[in-house]
């Protein structure tokens, strides 16, 4: 719930960014218990090089303060999309903050923007977009991989962002966005973005913009 707005103290269900050092940052969901690899619920204890942390002890702590652990301490930071990008569980290769920043600027995103994104991937860019367009904008994000689309939707919901995003399992290159003249911006990070272009055109308002990601190489753009 801490992605929606800035808070001062940790509450149950929050995502806390635990900072040990510049190379050692982790996102922790605050809960009493957590599911282990075998599928059993066990007490949520996070192990670090500085000792063990009983995650539920974070509740009530002030964001930005030091967290004492058995062999040292760390910092509990309030999550931001930038910190989430550094700590999120990767299901795909993600976009990092330098590229994300340019996407947000070039698409001229601001509160109230309606954005289409394909593919959702691991939700790195999605979180940054949501932060920028809330509370009056909306993000329509699509991924052709069923599990990834579902995981992303669960994350958005757990982070309190569910109202601002619609995450759909859909192949936009084959089937389009199923949207007509609603988007201010479309972002395509696909193996074959040119296939989605006509659908993007339909989804866009007359005054909207499209952006391609070229991580896959320039060959795609030429076609």
């Amino acid at each position: 719930m801490s992605f929606k707005e800035y808070k001062t103290h940790v509450e149950m269900g929050d995502t806390v960014i635990l900072y040990l050092n510049i190379k050692n940052i982790h996102a922790i969901t605050v809960s009493e218990e957590v599911k282990n690899k075998k599928g059993n619920m066990v007490p949520n204890i996070f192990q670090t090089v500085y000792g063990a942390l009983k995650v539920k002890d974070l509740i009530g702590m002030k964001y930005g303060s030091q967290v004492q652990m058995t062999r040292g301490w760390a910092f509990a930071l309030h999550p931001t999309p930038e910190l989430w990008t550094l700590t999120l569980p990767h299901r795909t290769q993600i976009l990092y903050t330098p590229d994300i920043s340019m996407v947000l600027t070039q698409l001229e995103l601001r509160p109230g923007s309606v954005v289409c994104e394909a593919g959702t991937g691991s939700g790195s860019l999605s979180h940054a977009i949501l932060r920028t367009i809330a509370p009056t904008g909306h993000l329509h994000t699509f991924d052709f991989h069923e599990q990834r689309s579902r995981l992303a939707a669960e994350e958005f919901s757990a982070h309190g962002l569910g109202d601002y995003v619609t995450a759909r399992h859909r192949d936009v290159c084959g089937e389009g966005f199923d949207l007509d003249s609603v988007a201010d911006a479309v972002f395509l990070d696909l193996p074959r973005p040119y296939d989605a272009v006509p659908f993007a055109k339909q989804a866009l308002k007359k005054s909207g913009t499209v952006l391609f990601s070229l991580l896959g190489g320039l060959n795609g753009k030429l076609r």
Partner: protein, 511 residues
């Protein structure tokens, strides 16, 4: 079918784009819009949707008044003008001055007679003896080059931070401290600017580009305190963008000296290169320590008089704190004119002994001795509030609001983008930032940021990074895709980090 976007309106700002040339203009019905050597008849632009492309038709005559006609697509003449013949390579091409039969005068004549760009370029191509000897790619390049010169398409765009910042960078990067658009975008994410947040931006000498950028991202929710140095904050980019009054209401400005009067820099710290610093710092601190009410009443009595008395009191303190006063940013007017009441700065001892009473004395002296200045200032204040009626508050109210916003010392983000060396300013302004919130500093040079890096590490901040981004433009054409030959080398550097609370453990930082 598809709903048109907003229309081009009279009296609003727009960015006119002609090829790679961008210009900011306020479109007024009775006026013409100057675009290089030609001028455009504004009446033909109004009413069409924003973003429309127009073809300019020569109106003839000496004025070169162009009449715009909306078009659906622009033409790339390189596709339209296809040559029958081309060579495989350039082995037979000779570089002499005789291959073009058209003279400059004849081309001018054609232009004046109202020939379209396509006609002119076609004529030039037809009169070129070497054209057939060029390769296909070379022919396309030639046509595009000619097209650029005789290009007659313009488009009218809504000014956004992206366009305005790119325009300023293109016109003169030094005016905005080499703040390239990609660096600007990094600043916004480094500070995690979000609607509803409360941000403190110290900007001087950047034509208010960062202020406009944060304001755009706030979208009417949240607050932005623009801290500036000198007499007037820069407003260029903020004025260029058609912000609504709701969006502008989020912005309040206060100058650094006023802020430092209310929140003096740490008196016990030995500020470098400021021998008089401890003493002047001590008295307001002790005054504040006595009772917050005292300061509050001081504020109240001072407030009706505006900044007059405050600026008089601030001059010695600001100078003494070793923070250089603003020199950059063309439009800034300093209010250093309070020469009457400023004690001789050269003598270090005198301020120390005078200061305990000086603080209040100067304020009262200020009200009496500065009557004429006060009248002048309040005169300009009314001017200001009349001229800038779109701003919700007068300068004085604005200052008050900004100070109130900062007094709780829990801003969500701190952004520095100033021409002065940032280290002392950063050390001072960090106190207004809440814990677990980011700060970021932009500088056209790396070295000051390295000093800031170590200073912030000493303050106990974490996640400190100094970064630089590159922006490389590519020519994208089939079989000819490559980076452009020239690339911008200077886009500035960025320091970012997080403020944290180390009160649990004051031991040495180990990361």
């Amino acid at each position: 079918m598809r709903e048109d976007g907003p229309a081009i309106c009279d009296g609003k700002n727009y960015i006119i784009i002609k090829g790679s040339f961008m210009k900011l203009a306020k479109l007024k019905t009775q006026k013409q819009c100057q675009l290089g050597r030609a001028s455009v008849d504004v009446a033909g632009l109004l009413g069409h949707p924003v973003g429309t492309q127009f073809r300019l038709h020569s109106g003839g005559g000496k004025q070169r008044l162009m009449r715009p006609e909306p078009v659906e697509h622009t033409e790339d003449l390189a596709d339209a003008i296809a040559a029958d013949e081309s060579a495989a390579d350039n082995r037979n091409l000779l570089a002499n001055q005789t291959s073009q039969a058209m003279t400059k005068e004849r081309i001018m004549e054609m232009r004046e007679q109202g020939a379209t760009g396509k006609e002119i370029v076609t004529t030039i191509v037809d009169n070129s003896t070497s054209f057939q000897g060029k390769t296909e790619f070379s022919q396309a390049k030639y046509v595009r080059k000619k097209q650029k010169k005789y290009f007659e398409f313009i488009s009218v765009q809504e000014p956004t931070v992206r366009l305005v910042a790119s325009m300023y960078y293109m016109q003169d990067p030094l005016k905005i401290m080499n703040l390239r658009v990609d660096s600007l975008s990094q600043l916004l994410t480094a500070c995690s600017v979000r609607p509803g947040g409360r941000y403190l931006v110290l900007e001087s000498g950047c034509l208010a580009v960062t202020v406009a950028a944060v304001l755009e991202r706030l979208g009417g929710h949240g607050h932005l305190v623009h801290l500036f140095q000198g007499g007037t904050p820069q407003r260029h980019a903020v004025d260029a963008i058609n912000f609504t009054s709701d969006q502008l209401a989020c912005l309040s400005c206060v100058d650094l000296r006023t802020l430092m009067t209310h929140h003096p820099a740490d008196p016990s710290a030995s500020a470098p290169a400021a021998s008089a610093a401890p003493a002047p710092g001590a008295s307001p601190a002790s005054a504040e320590a006595q009772a917050d009410e005292t300061v509050a009443t001081d504020r109240e009595t001072v407030a009706p008089n505006g900044e007059t008395a405050q600026t008089a009191a601030e001059s010695p303190k600001a100078a003494a704190d070793g923070i250089p006063s603003s020199g950059g940013g063309g439009d800034v007017t300093t209010t250093d004119g309070g020469g009457d009441v400023v004690p001789d700065g050269g003598d270090d001892v005198t301020p120390a002994t005078e200061e305990p009473t000086a603080a209040t004395a100067e304020e009262t002296e200020g009200t009496e001795a500065q009557e004429s200045r006060k009248r002048r200032l309040s005169g300009s204040q009314t001017e200001t509030s009349e001229r800038k009626s779109k701003y919700a508050r007068t300068r004085c109210e604005d200052s008050e609001l900004a100070l109130n916003m900062l007094s709780s010392k829990d801003m969500d983000g701190l952004l520095l983008c100033c021409r002065q060396h940032p280290v002392n300013l950063l050390r001072y302004l960090l106190r207004f930032l809440a814990v677990s919130r980011p700060f970021t500093v932009f500088c056209p040079y790396k070295e000051p940021l390295l000093e800031c890096y170590f200073a912030m590490k000493a303050e106990g901040c974490i996640m400190l990074k100094v970064t630089e981004t590159w922006l490389r433009n590519y020519q994208v054409l089939p079989e000819r895709t490559h980076p452009e030959i020239n690339m911008s080398g200077g886009g500035g550097y960025i320091l970012s980090g997080f403020k944290v609370d180390r009160s649990l453990n004051r031991a040495a930082v180990t990361d």
